[in-house]
Amino acid sequence: MKYSILLATLMLTACANSTAPVLPAWPTAPADLQQPPADLTPLRPEQRNLSDLIQNSNNNYTQYYILKERYEGWQNWYKTQQKIWQGLQ
């Protein structure tokens, strides 16, 4: 009787070691963040005035600020997803 109880207890220990894998779907980043970066625009041959250069610089600086927003967006996205992922551990 004692041995049978001990045997049953020992057999049950094997059941407690398996865990069910549950994985979340890979998070999708916003579409804007996945767009390829635009190139800076050079001056065209006919653009020879100082005002053309300043206007062109304005447009190129705008490209920089857009990319800066996207870069910060990626950092923000990563930190947020990391926080959510760590909450699952």
Partner: protein, 157 residues
């Protein structure tokens, strides 16, 4: 394979059967012990006793296994719920970020337009002192834009 069979068996049989098996095995074990002292049914007691032990052990084993399966199923449901919440939080955060990004890009383009308007307004004043850009200035600027370093950009205009 053995684990798969046991899990399938445990998942498809009513759980009350296992404590019933263990209880019945124990009852038969006691009764067979008594029967061994009664001469006419002694042989039945001797045969039933080892069978009752096996039935009781199997019943206890499967009852314990069913308990573990139930705990695992509960843990699985909780984990799935947690994952669903995390996926929803992830999607919400991405949506909020996309909205914020679109708003910021709109603001940047708006400021670009504003500055462009100011430059257009001041065009005659700006160009008054510098009617035409020096060729080298034009080329050096484009070299900087293209990040070409000291490479040759092309024939000078």
């Amino acid at each position: 394979m053995f684990e798969l069979i046991v899990n399938h068996f445990l998942g498809n049989v009513p759980t009350w059967i296992f404590p019933f098996m263990a209880g019945a095995g124990f009852a038969v074990y006691i009764i067979s012990g008594i029967a061994q002292h009664i001469e006419p049914i002694r042989i039945y007691g001797l045969v039933a006793r080892p069978i009752s032990i096996v039935v009781m052990v199997v019943g206890v084993f499967l009852y314990g296994g069913a308990g573990v399966i139930a705990v695992q199923q509960q843990a699985l449901l909780e984990a799935q719920h947690k994952v669903e919440l995390a996926e929803q939080a992830s999607a919400d955060a991405a949506k909020q970020l996309a909205d914020n990004l679109a708003n910021q890009e709109h603001l940047v383009k708006g400021r670009n337009y504003g500055v462009g308007q100011i430059i257009a307004k001041d065009k005659s004043k700006i160009d008054r002192d510098c009617a035409r850009l020096n060729d080298d200035a034009w080329e050096d600027y484009n070299r900087a834009v293209a990040n070409l370093g000291s490479k040759i950009l092309g024939p000078k205009k």
